[in-house]
């Protein structure tokens, strides 16, 4: 019974981490493109977005300002609540966030299957989400791991004496 409740708690926190990741992605995805447009307009070179090469620049901009921070926030929550098996567990919030975003954008009409761009719609969000979640999750557990390792070092001399 206790195993079940802890398992339930882990699943709940993974889902919440994924939801945070998804929500942040969705919000930032509506703000970041406006931000870059505003920057370009104020710099007097809004026309740069007309050129096909700007797609790559915009993808990198979104990776840095939307997908990576969103994954990081989801990872911070998951890492704060869950302390074990992070290497496996942290993949789940990233997947929930990215797959949720793809589904949300598809059903709201932002993704058109006839002009589907795998790099921009799947690869970049997935890359940013996974890296962000892992960085956030491990950032939350960094000091804990340090404390555990220092305790382990203290035990070693006593074992040698005996």
């Amino acid at each position: 019974m206790r195993f079940d409740s802890s398992m339930y708690s882990v699943l709940l926190h993974m889902a919440l981490g994924g939801a945070i990741c998804l929500f942040t992605m969705y919000i930032l995805l509506s703000i970041s493109p406006l931000g870059i447009e505003m920057i370009l307009f104020n710099l007097g070179c809004f026309g740069l977005v007309a050129f096909s090469e700007s797609v790559n620049a915009l993808s990198l901009f979104l990776l840095g300002t939307t997908y990576l921070p969103s994954g990081f926030l989801g990872g911070l929550y998951t890492g704060y609540k869950i302390k074990e098996n992070l290497r496996i567990i942290l993949v789940i919030p990233a997947l929930i966030g990215v797959l949720g975003l793809i589904a949300l954008r598809f059903f709201t009409g932002y993704i058109n299957l006839s002009s589907f761009n795998f790099q921009n719609e799947v690869f970049i969000p997935f890359l940013g989400g996974v890296i962000g979640v892992f960085l956030g999750g491990y950032a939350m557990n960094w000091e804990t791991e340090e404390a555990e390792s220092s305790e382990a070092i203290e035990l070693d001399p006593s074992q040698i004496k005996s």
Binding site: L40, F41, G44, C45, F46, G47, L48, V49, A50, F51, E53, S54, N56, A57, L58, L60, F61, L63, G64, T65, L68, P69, F72, I131, G132, F134, L135, G136, Y138, A139, W142, E143, E145, E146, E148, S149, A152
Partner: protein, 217 residues
């Protein structure tokens, strides 16, 4: 956990936990790379105060702060290539469309057109009929007709005002000024620019510059 990984997980960078430092560095690197790409695009395409957009069928210079959207329409009845240009702050924009030979034949046959003048009149009427759906009281006034040089080709143009032709979100009607230009040869080349109220007159010099800089390939 191995000693190597434990040792790694105690590391800091710039007095920050390593993942946080990596996160910040990654963001800075990505934003830097994005800026470098934008700067490269800028230096590649800038020509004085204008950007030069080069597409399959036409080259066009446009003001640096304008929106430009090139598009292609390919199907079994021929290919059409176009560019939409406009100022993001004014209700005015410009369309340049080039038909390939097959699309030219289809366009002329389907609409019973024979020359540039008939194409210009046809497009003007089509626009007027469309505006009537928004405002049944809109009236069409032809202001000027004549010939114009379009990328070395002599075409026909008509400037017209549709009184009350543009209705904004509040339901207020405005006069809508359009200029249509057509050249009909082995290919059709059409230019249209328009503006709502005074926005047309504020943009017309830029439209003429864009038209004079356009080169059909």
């Amino acid at each position: 956990m191995s000693f190597g990984l434990k040792n790694l997980m105690r590391r800091t960078l710039f007095r920050m936990r390593l993942p946080i430092a990596i996160f910040i560095i990654l963001i800075l690197v990505l934003l830097g790379a994005s800026s470098v790409i934008f700067y490269t695009i800028f230096t590649t395409h800038v020509h004085g105060d204008y950007f030069r957009l080069e597409t399959t069928y036409l080259d066009v210079d446009f003001p640096k702060n304008w929106v430009a959207y090139p598009w292609e329409e390919k199907n079994s009845t021929g290919d059409k290539y176009g560019v939409m240009l406009g100022s993001p702050t004014l209700r005015a924009s410009m369309f340049i469309v080039v038909y390939d030979e097959m699309a030219t034949k289809t366009y002329l046959r389907q609409n019973n057109l024979t020359d540039a003048f008939s194409a210009t009149v046809f497009e003007s009427k089509r626009l007027y009929n469309w505006t009537l759906q928004e405002n049944v009281n809109a009236t069409l006034c032809f202001v000027e007709n004549g010939t114009v040089l379009m990328s070395g080709y002599v075409g026909n143009f008509s400037t017209l005002i549709i009184k009350g032709g543009y209705v904004d979100d509040d339901g207020t009607p405005y006069n809508w000024t359009w200029t249509f230009m057509s050249f009909v040869g082995s290919r059709v080349f059409q230019v249209a620019y328009h503006g709502v109220g005074e926005d047309y007159y504020q943009s017309v010099d830029s439209f003429r510059f864009v038209l004079n800089s356009t080169r059909i390939k």
